[in-house]
Symmetry: C2
């Protein structure tokens, strides 16, 4: 830290991004990446475009907006893109939260909500999950705060129904409700159909998970035109050129080749279901995941121990220190081959305990 | 605007990014782009990398940091990268300015400094240029504010010397001085050599101009380790994955193929000097530019008129409404062929006035 930093950041501890190991034969199941590459058309597309990168990118993402809104059956005025959905969330904190309008979100959820609250000095209320690690929607009635809920939630993977989200929207007509749909494509239902009806609904989403573009950063918000205008104001005052030309083009390819991505999603969901059944047989308790990861525990071994012993076998999963969920590990769903190796390793680990 | 936006943004007018016309036979000299494409190796590089975009990008930009710091002869701890230098500047406003520590910058300079001041509600002092449109360094002594100076300045193109920058640094030991070197490679001297000596110096730079990567967004800050740590704290709390994999790789290629870019810069500078001489002969008064654009005026025609009449001829330059500089137009330096067409058009326009 320098002696020049403004006082509010003096005691600020930086967020540490998740481990990105460089060992080549590792099975990396710690950051919920898609095990399948982007569609092969992506390669030639970016090679072609690279020739024109001396020219600025389109700040309005026109082509991407066209194909995206056609795909989702929404109006072009209902969407904005950003440099990953983290940036969408950052814009939401700036636009819809201040010292008076605080924010609330589930205590156990995406870790970045806490970080944004600190960054922008926003009062944040962290609402407990129930004993089954579910969001109790009645805890979100009449909050008088901006609300952020990941659906499916992370790291639990548990999803709310559209009806439940509608309840929350109706009970908070004067506050923005952000539904973070980063993982929605793996089995939950998107709230997009509610955007026309509820002016307080803002959906954030990402191309990182179901569209295999984590490395190129593309996020979006879908909401009524006025909310989108608010975010555009922030974006254009922060970094109007935030979505680069290559990323815009890759987003277009991913929608044009949607069948490929639907197939990949189908495989991931099938792998998840098989994997959970095998974990069941090994005595695990796994939450009902609608995401591309599962959250699981076994009374025979602590979450930290399982994490460590998998790490020794070059399998990286995620463990959270938070006492309420420290029994669990979060495991991203890779290919069948990868998950079979995980099962074998877990069997070995459990057998080792009794040996 | 929605009724949900926080009060401080209610009367906030959005920044409007410059015109990006889609007409194909236009000569686009309004946003200071490099007329030459990125090195041809860029194409295959991005095609190869696109296969792995399902995996997250490296938040620490390790490879890029290695080649960049070797190139500039600095320590790896002295640099941070971001999604364009606009994002570097946004991080600087958050880290080094607040209600108490205001900011000052030249009244006539890069338009975004005003926008950031508004976005973060920072008190900004706009310091006049002298009658020759130069920065008078004594106006920047003992400011007790964060200082931002573009060197060369925009839209004038006039540069300060390293000695002048050192004066400003010495007279403001307790405040950060940001030197925005977006255009430094076209004839000015970088202050990088001062970084070791002055803990209050922060240099921001971009790959958009001299490295032909406007469309892929890559900016950097060079400063002593403590200032860089401050910016890393902000980055990691805002968007740790802000520089995507393709952009990092293109940055690496641009340094590996440095000779190509030096050649392009040489051509641009030669074209600029020829262009200015031709303008001289047509009665123009042109400021002494060390950038890839020139700022010029002619008593026979107003800046707005010249802009409009060039626009009719499919040549887009930039005109600023500000009364102090409304006589001028800013013209980016393209290829020789493009600039010859501009000269011909200007001749026609001037002849038309007397017809």
């Amino acid at each position: 830290m320098s002696r020049f930093i403004v006082p509010k950041f003096e005691k600020f501890s930086a967020y540490t991004p998740g481990e990105q190991p460089k060992i080549s034969d590792i099975i990396k199941l710690n950051t919920n990446e898609n095990p399948f590459p982007p569609h092969e058309n992506s390669n030639e597309k970016v090679a072609e475009i690279a020739k024109n990168l001396n020219i600025y990118n389109d700040t309005e993402c026109k082509k991407l907006t066209e194909v995206f809104t056609t795909y989702y059956g929404i109006n072009q005025k209902n969407v904005i893109f950003a440099n990953g959905s983290d940036e969408i969330l950052a814009f939401c904190f700036l636009a819809f939260c201040d010292e008076k309008i605080g924010v609330c979100y589930p205590e156990i959820s995406y870790g970045f909500y806490k970080v944004f609250s600190k960054l922008y000095s926003i009062n944040d209320e962290k609402i407990s999950l129930n004993d089954n690690f579910e969001i109790d929607i009645s805890d979100y009635y009449e909050k008088n705060k901006t609300i952020i809920i990941a659906n499916p939630n992370a790291p639990t993977g548990i999803a709310l129904t559209i009806g439940q989200i509608e309840q929350i929207l109706q009970k908070n007509p004067n506050n923005v409700v952000v539904i973070d749909e980063a993982y929605v494509d793996f089995g939950a239902n998107s709230a997009i159909e509610l955007v026309e009806k509820y002016e307080n609904l803002l959906i954030s989403g990402t191309f990182s998970k179901s569209r295999s573009l984590a490395g190129t950063r593309l996020g979006y918000a879908i909401a009524n035109e006025n909310l989108i205008d608010d975010l555009k104001k922030i974006k254009n005052s922060y970094n109007p050129y935030n979505v680069n030309t290559l990323t815009q083009a890759l987003g277009v390819v991913s929608i044009e080749e949607d069948d490929y991505y639907r197939d990949c999603i189908k495989k991931i969901v099938e792998t998840r279901e098989k994997f959970v059944k095998k974990l069941d047989k090994l005595g695990f308790y796994t939450l009902n995941s609608k995401a591309n990861f599962i959250f699981t525990k076994n009374d025979k071994i602590s979450g930290k121990d399982l994490y460590d012993k998998l790490r020794e076998r070059n399998i990286i999963v995620r463990h959270f220190d938070d006492v309420k969920i420290s029994d669990f590990v979060r495991i991203s769903i890779g290919t069948d081959v990868q998950m079979d190796k995980v099962i074998l390793s877990i069997q070995e680990i459990l057998e080792g305990i009794y040996a």
